[in-house]
Each structure stands twice: as C-alpha cells, then as structure tokens.
C-alpha cells in the first residue's frame, strides 16, 4: 500500500512537516523533523526511481479523480532522475544546516528556517513530479516564495535587496509561465501535460501555441537564470545563508531546466521545437555567450561565493547547450550535467559555508593560506573544483565528455572545441582559490580558526565523494540520463 502511494508521500511528507514545525516552535525538534522528512523524501525518490526503471512510468490520481479532470502525479525516467537529485541534496543540506544556521541566524528564526526549508524542498519536488501544468505553477510559487524568504534571511543587508530583485523577476517569470499555460489552455481546453501533448497537434490556434512557447520559454528562463536573464542570481547566491545557497544552487535552477525540458520535449514535442523553429540556434547562441562571459566575470570576482555564483550561470550554459543540440547525446549530456553540476555546486557551497562560519567571510583576502588551518575543507574545495573544470576522474568530466560527443554527433566540431576551451577559463577561476589557499602566506586578514565543525565537514565530504564517485561509476547517472533522453525524443508525437 505504501509503495502505491509513494508519489503522493514524496511531496506530502516534507510539505506536512512545515506546519508541524511551526505548530511546535522548537528549534531542535524542528531540525530533527526537517532531517527526517528530507531523508524520507530521498528514500522515496530512490524507490520511485527503481520502480520506474523496472516497470515504466507511474501515474497517480490525486483525490482519485482521473486525469484530465483531476490532478495527476506522473513519474517517468526524467522526473524520477530529477527527484533523486533534489531530494538527495535536500537530505544532505538538512543535517548540515544545524551548525550553519545556528551561527548565522538569531535563535527565534531557527524553526522558521527549517519550516521554509521543508516548504522549498516540497515545492521543488512537487514541480518535478506533477503532471499538471497549472499545479506546476502553484508548486513553483511555493518553492519561489520560500526561496525569497531563505535569501532574505541572509545576514548582510544586501541579502534583502537581492531577495527583492529575485522576487520581482521571479514573479514576472511565473506570470509569463501562467500566460503561456493560459494560451495553451485556450487552444486545447486542458491543463494535464500528457493530455496537452496529445491534443496540441490538432489545435486550431497554432499562433497561440507559438506565443505560448515563447512565453513559457522566457518565463522559465528567468527562473533558470539563462543568459541574459541571470541578473538576479549572483547577488541571491552571494548573500543568502550558506545552507540556503548550497540548497538553491544545487536544485532550484535545475528544476527549472527540468520544466523547460518537459515543455519542449513532452508538451510541444521535438518536431515543433527543434525542427520547425530556430529554438536550438537561439539556445546555443545564448549558451555560448553565457559560458564565455559568465566564466570571465567569475575570474575577476573578489568574493568566493560570487565567483561560484557566476560559475553557476556558466555551467547552466553548458546544460542549455546540450538541450540546444537536441540529439540523443546532447540531451544525455544536459541531463547528466544537471545532476553532476548539482552535486558539484552543492559540495562547493557547503564547503564554502564552513569557511564562512570559521573565517567570517569568503573574501579572497581572508582566504590566504587557509589550507594550513582548514586542510580538509580546502582539499574538498579543490576536488570539487576539479569536477567543475571537468578533469577526468570527476563527475564533471562525464558531462563534458557527453557534451563533446553530442557536439560531434550533431556535426558541430567547433562546439566541441568550445567546450574544451571554455573549461580552461574554469581552470583560471578554480586556480584563484588554490593560489590563495595553498600558495599564499597567511596575511593579516586571514582567519586563524580551525577546521569546520565535524557534522558540516562530514556532509560536505559526502558530496565531494559523490563528485568523484560519479566520475568513475556512471551506471546510475548516464543510464538514467540516457533513458530520460530517449524518453524525451521518443515520446514526442
């Protein structure tokens, strides 16, 4: 019975944890409940992924109303894969948050932080798992509102402005999405994603469908920080509390990418998006600009968190580059990179959170000679940084490898060269950390505190280990991504 209801429990357990936490108003209990709920969600997502790979897509009718009249939950190869990523990061960040949040937030806010964490997790999971376009909007708003709160809780006053800007842009993005869904609804009369896909080819109002495609693309691109709509991201990541940054960086933009993939390949279908419209060309162009410009900007940042934030914009460019190829290998690369970049960035931001806790700031001036006082943390950052570059033996290499394969398969060898060349810029910004931490003498500004707390360090190292593990054992990531890619290209009517 439990397995049958797993799709609902996947979202509902973290969601129900939030009001419980607020009812009890106790920091320690709140933390325990948040960890338990996140771990449960992770277990549920693994079970769902297994079930999907064994028996195919699962459909679950909320309220026992058959779709398209009721709301459907639908788990297939693609959404199961994203569910695992989101819930895994959630399950790791929740135990980590205890020390980090205790240090960064006043005590009265602790239980609220965990409640919002649960809401954000549930919102992202709900976006991924739902089979209904409007329900997706509702959960997008749950996730977004909780993200605005998480960012605004940052200590620096600039966090408030970052959160405000994100709120404005995020709401515009969500409203664009609603306009797009509204146009689709007017053209077809349904909101269920599978039903939409089935009815769109017969829709009379082709112009409305095209406009819907445009609105959904722009709206979701705002959320996933596709160049040039990324302006909210660096400040938001730089000033949010460390645990929140790690969680958001590893999951939020990735779920938006998922939404884009879902609409492009399930709803509109590859024939319309890829063959009839210049969408791949536009995506490829924007991705290249994003990769090059954001990587270059990252090199000149004075603050490690901001550096990593700009690097995120660049890495999202790699993902959209894979989508732009729209081939089997390209999409595989996009989905693999979704996962690999999620864990890599998660690991980096978790470690940086440890540095921020001990050193007070992650300005490069304060990082000089840090390797002497925080050797394990610095080693972790370096390893995860190698994965960011895409050095063989790390997870990042796998995604870049498939990206190169996809480019060659698409007959665009120059893209392959570009991927390799831009990785050199990544070398430059990762090198800045290595230089500061290992090769510089401790200066007057250097923090003298010791290693990060054990719980935080342990969780961070689980992520770092995952970066290395998925560089060698690719059976889960690549096979999962390949299945997802085949689903996207094959399911298109």
């Amino acid at each position: 019975m439990t397995l049958e209801h797993l799709p609902a429990l996947q979202v509902m357990v973290p969601l129900a944890a939030a009001p419980l936490i607020v009812l009890l108003r106790h920091a320690g209990f709140a933390w325990a409940l948040a960890v338990a709920a996140s771990l449960f969600a992770f277990g549920a997502s693994l079970a769902l992924a297994l079930e999907v790979s064994r028996a195919g897509a699962i459909s679950y009718a909320m309220g026992n109303w058959p779709p398209p009249w009721g709301i459907e939950y639908r788990v297939d190869a693609l959404s199961a894969f994203v569910l695992v990523l989101v819930s895994a990061v959630g399950a790791l960040v929740a135990p980590y948050a205890r020390r980090s949040v205790a240090a960064e937030l006043p005590r009265e806010q602790h239980y609220l932080y965990y409640a919002v964490h649960c809401l954000c997790l549930a919102g992202l999971l709900g976006m991924t798992i739902t089979g209904d376009a409007f329900n997706l909007f509702v959960f997008m708003e749950i996730a977004s509102l909780s993200m605005y709160v998480l960012i605004a809780l940052g200590r620096d006053r600039r966090a408030l402005l970052a959160s405000y800007q994100y709120l404005i842009l995020g709401t515009i993005g969500a409203t664009f999405y609603v306009i797009g869904v509204g146009l689709l609804y007017l053209a077809t009369g349904t909101l269920n994603i599978a039903d939409l896909a089935a009815r769109l080819p017969e829709a009379q109002a082709t112009r409305a469908v095209l406009a819907a495609l445009a609105f959904i693309t722009v709206g979701v691109s705002l959320k996933l920080a596709l160049f040039p709509l990324h302006l909210w991201l660096p400040n938001a990541y730089a000033y949010a509390p460390s645990a929140a940054t790690a969680f958001l960086a590893a999951t939020a933009t990735k779920v938006s990418v998922y939404v884009l993939l879902r609409f492009y390949f399930t709803v509109f279908g590859a024939p319309l998006v890829v063959d009839a419209l210049p969408v791949p060309q536009i995506l490829t162009g924007l991705s290249i600009i994003a990769i090059v410009s954001a990587s270059l900007v990252a090199v000149w940042q004075a603050d490690l968190k901001r550096l990593l934030a700009y690097s995120s914009v660049a890495q999202i460019g790699y993902i959209t580059l894979g989508i732009g190829m729209a081939t089997r290998d390209g999409l595989t690369a996009a989905v693999v990179h979704l996962f690999n970049h999620g864990i890599t960035k998660g690991a980096l931001f978790l470690l940086v959170g440890g540095i921020a806790l001990r050193a007070g700031s992650v300005d490069f001036g304060r990082l000089r000679g840090l390797a002497r006082t925080m050797p394990l943390t610095c080693l972790g950052v370096t390893l995860a940084g190698l994965s960011l570059i895409g050095v063989p033996g790390t997870a990042g290499f796998i995604s870049k490898w498939y990206l190169v394969l996809g480019a060659i398969e698409a007959g665009q060898a120059w893209l392959a060269a570009l991927v390799v060349l831009t990785s050199l810029i990544a070398v430059a910004y990762v090198w800045r950390f290595v230089e500061a931490a290992y090769l510089s003498e401790p200066g007057s500004g250097t923090a003298v505190a010791g290693e990060a707390p054990l719980a935080m360090l342990a969780v961070s190292w689980v992520m770092v280990a995952a970066c290395v593990w998925f560089g060698f054992d690719t059976s889960f990531t690549v096979q999962g991504a390949r299945r997802a890619a085949e689903l996207m290209l094959g399911a298109a009517p």
Binding site: F134, F137, V138, E141, L145, Y148, V149, A152, R157, R158, L160, L161, S163, Y164, L167, I168, T171, I172, T175, V178, I179, G182, Y185, L186, L191
Partner: protein, 122 residues
C-alpha cells in the same frame, strides 16, 4: 474588422499587462514596482476568464432554471492565482519594509549607491 470585434477582450488585457510590466521595469520605487507587479498579474485574470464567458450563459452555480453556464475551470485557476498574488505582495512588502529599515530609502538607485559607498569604505 471582425478580428477586432471578436478579440478586443484579449487586447484590453494585453494593454493592462503592458502597463503593469512597464511600471515594474521603469520605476525605481520599490513599492510602486510591487503595485505594477500586481497590476501585471491582475491583467492575466482577464486573459483566463474572458474567454470562459458564454453570452447568454450564467454563473456556474447549477440550478433547474438555467441551461448554459460559463466555464468554471478558469475561475478556479484564477482564484488560486489571486491568492498567490496577494501572498507575493505581502512578502514583497515585508522585504521592502526591511530594506527601508536597513537603508533608509526605498528608491532603487539610492540603495545601489549606498551599497557602492559601503563597498568603497571597506
């Protein structure tokens, strides 16, 4: 112009939408931006609801007396959207109040300038 006669409801919506969006992008005052944002969202309500109307129909409350009803589904969706809109507005205003306390201003350019000054001093 049949296209104009049959589609003017859409176009009023579009005008409102553009005006709201213009306020959001062009204005530097944080509160006014939020007002523009809610006008932008409100205009979407019409986009959903207007096509659901059937002339000669009545509100979708079933009774013996009527046969033709307007489409209830958009109403439900927009109820949800209104609630989401007010929730966003409330949260946005809370952030603005905090910004005002931290910076003493709610003009975007002044705040950015204040941050730059603070950065220079460091």
């Amino acid at each position: 112009m049949p296209a104009f006669a049959s589609h003017y409801t859409y176009w009023i919506t579009v005008l409102l939408m553009a005006a709201g969006l213009y306020i959001v992008v062009a204005r530097g005052n944080l509160v006014k931006k939020l007002i523009g944002l809610s006008i932008f969202q409100t205009s979407v309500y019409l986009l959903y609801i207007a096509p659901g109307k059937l002339i000669g129909g009545t509100a979708p409350i079933l009774s013996e007396a009527f046969k033709v009803y307007s489409n209830p589904l958009p109403h439900v969706l927009i109820l949800t959207a209104i609630v989401v809109g007010i929730a966003t507005l409330a949260l946005g205003l809370a952030i603005v109040v905090r910004i005002r306390e931290a910076y003493g201003s709610i003009e975007e350019d002044e705040i950015v300038a204040a941050d730059r000054d603070a950065g220079d001093r460091e």
